[in-house]
Amino acid sequence: MTSMRDIKQRIENVRSTEQIIRAMDMVASTKLQKARRQLEGVRPIYGKLKRVAEEIGNLEEVETHPFYYERKVKNTLYIIITSDRGLSGSYNANILSETMKHMNNGKNEKILVVGSKGNDYLKKREKNIIRKITDIADSQVYYGTENLAKWLSDLYLSGEVEEVFVAYTRFENVLSYTPQVERLLPVATGVKLEDNNRNNEKKYEPDLATFIERMMPLYLHMSLFRAFSESHTSEQAARMVNMDAAGNNASDLIKDLTSMYNRKRQAAITQELSEIVGSANFLSK
């Protein structure tokens, strides 16, 4: 039997927890807005560059170009984007399980992991992590991904890996985000494009090889920056939704505890009253 004092203590505890949760909720929603702006900025340029890259993939003469040529796959690089901090519900678990599912096909995988949550998870499973990036500041993401794109294309061109996949969480809206594993390199060839007439007789200057050489770093940079932005936005959205739910749970708990407290108080008063009435009756006899 819990005493009234214990209940009061618990209400206080839950109340201060709720305050922290509400504060985190607010932080996440501010960050979400910022992340969303960044994401909406990068999506158009990514989409257009992707189309340009795939348009080139449809040309016959690029089939042997290193960025398009399908080599026999011995090593696959996975870039897995997770978060540094928890309290974001199933966000990390979803992206990691999606990636693990994708990995189970007997290939030799090398992993670049972003975020300490993913790092801990993959380390425990003794995966081959060749590089990890943790605690990256939001303002550093843009230049960070530029360097990463350089590193990536060096790794790819030197033949260390024959394939590059990027695993990220695509942000659709605040309530829905889907984990996704996409192949970044080699760039897909023979993709069906919607308006094919654009493609005809198009010229590339100064020549196709130079164009690809200049376009590819930009494309990789934007692909990575976009994947980071998508994941970051999803993370904040997941955290916001979870903190909101936690806040509501805390309010419900406080309500329950308060009514329990009130009942106890009422019972105590009733008991006292009946004692007084009882003793008064006894004395007046």
Binding site: E40, G41, V42, L49, L218
Partner: protein
């Protein structure tokens, strides 16, 4: 024949779209564009043949109804298709977005450093210098207009 051609040029405009990582930044009409590519300047009129090319570091000049605008555009690629010109770049700045003082400072520092620079630093310093010069020119262009 030649008259007909001039007419065609006159009533058609180029639709210029510049996309940067911060979204679609400029959507403008133009009579003529002159852009800096890696191998020299490229002038574009409406009905240009479809071509994709690589931009260098330089000034994008936009002519519309006799008014010239200048933008600083550093690297990126451009797709030209008839009357549509799409530029995808990481940096495109309007004159009013350029911090002239900083550009001047960059120029002074780069020039000073170039004197003592070694081979390896040379390239990045040259890039800095080139960018600062472009920014200064674009930015001064705005001031000319304001004080006729």
């Amino acid at each position: 024949m030649s008259e007909q051609q001039t007419e065609l040029v006159n009533d058609e405009k180029i639709n210029l779209t510049i996309t940067t990582p911060r979204g679609v930044k400029f959507v403008e009409e133009a009579d003529m564009l002159i852009m800096r590519c890696i191998d020299g300047d490229l002038g574009v009129l409406p009905r240009h043949e479809p071509v994709s090319t690589v931009l260098g570091e330089g000034i994008l000049r936009i002519f519309n109804n006799g008014i010239e605008k200048k933008l600083a555009v550093f690297n990126g690629i451009v797709e030209i298709n008839g009357t549509d010109v799409d530029i995808y770049t990481t940096i495109a700045q309007r004159p009013d977005e350029i911090d002239l003082e900083r550009a001047e400072q960059d120029r002074r520092e780069a020039e000073a450093a170039l004197e003592a620079a070694e081979e390896i630093q040379m390239r990045s310093l040259q890039v800095t210098l080139r960018r600062s010069l472009v920014r200064i020119e674009v930015s001064l262009h705005l001031e000319d207009e304001e004080t006729p």
